[in-house]
Symmetry: C2
Subunit: 258 residues, 2 copies
DNA sequence: ACGCAAACTTGACCTTGATCAAGTCATTCC
DNA sequence: GGAATGACTTGATCAAGGTCAAGTTTGCGT
């Protein structure tokens, strides 16, 4: 993963590998340099630790350089509800721009490298950079879009479909970040997946066994492998991107896999 | 409802009854006047008609003055998914600020009075009014918060709880708008409720009968009555607002009802 | 390397809510 | 006003997935 060498030179937005998908997307080179100037700290958070917790003063937002983070909250009877998993390149805690305290917990699922941006600094910068406002609005809208897509997945589909859709969605995000989509490390507990999808760990376990037996995908330890990406996509209920194309090779599996 | 007299004087933001909850919230008097200037049209949309449809060019956002609107979309097998119902004072189609086309259908559930704001006009105005950017961001964040709350409701609760939570949530929104919370007209089909909550119409019908028999609430025709608001809130899994208060009267039912 | 705690698996059983079918009730359109 | 259409109700049946219980495996701390 990016940024894991402890002795590496100081990473700036200008030379960060995540520039394309992170904050700076859509900003000019000059603007990126000014953004860099307010990025004071690049904290590391250990497995299980919180970037922030519900109720804490919301003073900063974070960009995730490596690792995985879950955004969650507890209902009145203490059940965890997991809204999202963040991957490298995602921006976490945007709500802080708008509210005095965080509304959710953000928990690192493994060791995470982050960039921390103070809300006050960002606000000040935004007054001089209209593009940044647009950028922030777009990130917020994307977050809304993700939550809606997730709701559509959970609201009315079978357990098999939910799980297939989840895996496919994660695979797509890895693909978009330039990684292989047919095999990747995913440090998420099956229990957390179950919670995220409104299922039980037992059900997830049974479905994963079935998928494995059918040769569709395996998910053992933290290693996910899509043996038949098209079948996963099909189960997930996602359209093939180039339906009207060549028609010879599967556009998803051939174009992006391996 | 507001704005229903056809011969009424021209309604402006400055004299609109929804000023507190709609767009202008957080703007100065001067800014509201400038906002007014770009509000050219105040369309009326009939029952079942669309404000906009998925795939259309996203050129405007809307403020709802009267009526109810659903935001929905269809999955691959043609099943409707309903994300939100908008009540008077809500702003609809914010995504348009950020995208070339609408991603959802917005359908009027009864006759609706609207304000239409062109995205281009709003963009231009926002460059001169930093408050407006903040305002837009806040509305977007609220929309995200609503979607997450809805997901939490549907993801892991029983059918009874989902329905109670839905009714309670709507009642709260009416209360916040200055209407009675224990009885109101709600022009939403039971079928649409079922879709919104990931249930079937049959299940909704059975649960409503049970609630009626238990004296908790009735929902006949379009008339909703909460006979025991506290029971509804309890079922919905929502904390009483003033738990540590007087302790004598139920803070919700006495303070806001009737 | 050992042992404990947590994660995961597997099987038997049960509950919730979906499905199917046949009705009743409202609303709308001539 | 009366038929036709769509909304809602009610009952019988069924299956997906939850629950409970007892395993096995994994990972971590010492």
């Amino acid at each position: 993963m990016a940024g894991s060498k402890p002795h590496a030179l100081q990473v700036t937005c200008a030379n960060c590998g995540l520039q394309r998908i992170c904050f700076p997307r859509g900003l000019t080179q000059q603007e990126i340099i000014r953004l860099d100037a307010i990025l004071q700290s690049q904290p590391v958070v250990g497995k299980g630790e919180a970037l922030f917790k519900q109720g804490e003063a919301a003073k900063a937002i974070f960009a995730l350089k490596s690792g995985v983070v879950k955004l969650c909250r507890y209902d009145r009877s203490g059940n965890e509800i997991i809204h999202t998993f963040y991957l490298p390149g995602d921006v976490i805690g945007l709500e802080a721009l708008d509210q005095p305290v965080y509304q959710y917990d953000a928990i690192a699922l493994d060791r995470c490298n982050l960039c921390r941006v103070e809300v006050a600094d960002l606000d000040r910068l935004a007054q001089q950079m209209p593009n940044l406002n647009r950028q922030v609005l777009q990130m917020m809208r994307r977050e809304l879009e993700l939550e809606r897509a997730h709701f559509e997945n959970v609201s009315s589909r079978s357990a098999d479909q939910r799980l297939a859709h989840f895996v496919w969605h994660i695979a797509e995000r890895f693909r978009d970040r330039g990684y292989a989509m047919d095999t990747f490390q995913l440090p998420i507990l099956h229990r957390d997946i179950a919670t995220h999808l409104g299922l039980t760990p037992e059900t997830v376990s049974r479905i994963l066994r079935k998928f494995h037996q059918q040769g569709i995908l395996t998910w053992q330890r933290k290693q996910v492998t899509l043996h038949d990406p098209c079948a996963v996509r099909e189960l997930a209920g996602v359209e093939a991107p180039d339906e009207a194309g060549e028609g010879e090779v599967c556009p998803v599996c051939q174009a992006h896999v391996g």
